[in-house]
Subunit: 136 residues, 6 copies
């Protein structure tokens, strides 16, 4: 019996979309007001999905305490109330778009998760804009 | 033209996660406070998805009245305001985790649905924890 | 500058609506399926509102850490994953309707809150049924 | 790195489910109160998903301004505050069920979108009824 | 113990904002695209609040079955899947703005409700636009 | 006929809670991780409520286009994608707590609104923390 279990979580952060190797004009043209050098911010909401076989003994796909602990240590402690550009090493050379943040979250959780599970990360930058990354 | 149509529904129930063949210590260790012998409960929300070909004559994938009636008779009448462990036959020998409840709902609806349709069941145990089962 | 600050919180519990001094028929007539002797349950969502003057020095009405700690110790630890009828002393002689649960939550938080604040409790029994109690 | 980016949007419209080549009795039997000749209406909510490779230079799957402009010109300007049956050419010969509206929206957006992207359209007719069309 | 109990409900309808005693130009200027002569529509969501004293015997402010029945007969049966301008007598001479629809709903429910209760009607025309009427 | 009409709106911003006249230790003690000198951010959601008499001629409390324009020019253009501490004059000497942001939004809208209306501002800093300010 194969199934996906989801857990919602969230963090708040500041960011800026900007490439130092581009002119100010190009940054402004591509990233618009997301390029604001003083930063802006979001409440990021996540739906972390883990897929695999249900354990017939417990009826659990995964003990959610394990998943919650991974999300807390890898994502919330690392990103919550942070400036992604200034304080999060993964974004020193990676522009913190929603796409890249989902990619970073995926990799950080995947590294701690039993490899028997597949993983997917849905990341809401706002209630109207979100991305889904499945490690493809 | 292949498409999925979804219908939301919900029921409220009490449950307890517990294996009688385990010691109290093991039940407590694996199921934590969900093992409370006095039961606790949830508002379960469902998104029932039905996939198939749209009928070119009606523009419907499925007459939603048919789907609503199946959900009502098979799920709501069977589970709403019930104690899953004590009153629902499917859980006499199956621990009522969200995973197993989704499995039971899937099977109950599938048995009444025209076999030409594929089915998926998303079950929210809380707004933050949910599972998706597609019969795989 | 007077203002209300709100904090959402939630707990899951089982309950039953029942008066031992009534006949089964009367319990059934008044409380319907909420009278199920095997219990059923809900995800209760709360919006706890605290009103008063904003502190000009901090810009805070109340330090939300204080409010979160009170909600955790008085409400979540006391009610989460519990059977309200069987395990919560306040409901030994009080029917755990949404109205009474809001009343109990109000009194438990009010007793710990600085008396300079007014308090209101909005309690969702389901996303469709909820009550608001302001201590009147 | 392959990913899906989603954008929510919405429009309000009137419609009626009806086939002129059917008798009134058959229209009533199949479409029920959705067949009301005076029309009724909905707030339609959409989640438009675009899948493809993330651009390593910008960190964007797609510039959301491009997607928003397509949604505005193709969907919102065409459908918002309209009577789908009377004023939208695509529904002159197509019954405006949720299934068909999703199909029309899919085709209108797909025609304007860079063909390197895959597209999916989730359309909520009400918060409880929705469809997902992926062009299959 | 005074408290407010709320019940959510909903209906779908078509409408048009228009005054026959105004010129087309004035209707267009004041009501914009809401003036479309072919109608448009909404999913209207309501929160019906009833205030009063909790019955100490039942722990209920009001038996929600009574409130649900009133909402069904007075609001849902009267307005759901209807064209408000064409089919609902109250709007023959009253423009069906959200303000007026809330007023009509208030009066229809109030007429059937025990006069010991106060009533309030929150009506969402869209998730972003809503009104609150308390009979003042 | 007196009524309140609400309009939802939103903006994204970065901020930091900090008093320069306090030691780092005191800022840390009072504001915790909200004191991060690199800033963090939120998606702020607003419900702007306007109360008054309904115009019997139009059935409108207020033309929502007027209210939307005021919200856009006074709040969204001023605060969206901004660093509140660094770029918004009102917060040069006012700590940008949710309480103070609601106060600023209230004053900016009130100054542009016909004085016959009462105003209220509900501001969500996160979906779980919000404040309500009515100008008292």
């Amino acid at each position: 019996m194969r199934l996906t279990a989801y857990r919602k979580a969230h963090f708040n952060a500041a960011h800026r979309l900007y490439r130092p190797d581009w002119s100010d004009e190009k940054n402004e043209k591509i990233f618009g007001k997301c390029n604001n050098p003083h930063f802006h911010g979001h409440n990021y909401d996540m739906e972390i999905g883990v897929s695999g076989e249900v354990d017939p003994e417990t009826g659990y796909l995964i003990d959610l305490k394990i998943l919650k602990d991974i999300i807390k240590s890898e994502v919330e402690d690392a990103l919550d109330h942070k400036n992604l550009n200034e304080e999060v090493p993964e974004f020193k050379e990676l522009i913190p778009t929603a796409e890249h943040i989902a990619f970073v979250i995926y990799n950080k959780i995947k590294a701690k998760l039993d490899p028997k599970y597949d993983l997917e990360v849905k990341l809401y930058e706002t209630p109207r804009n979100f991305v889904l990354y499945k490690g493809e």
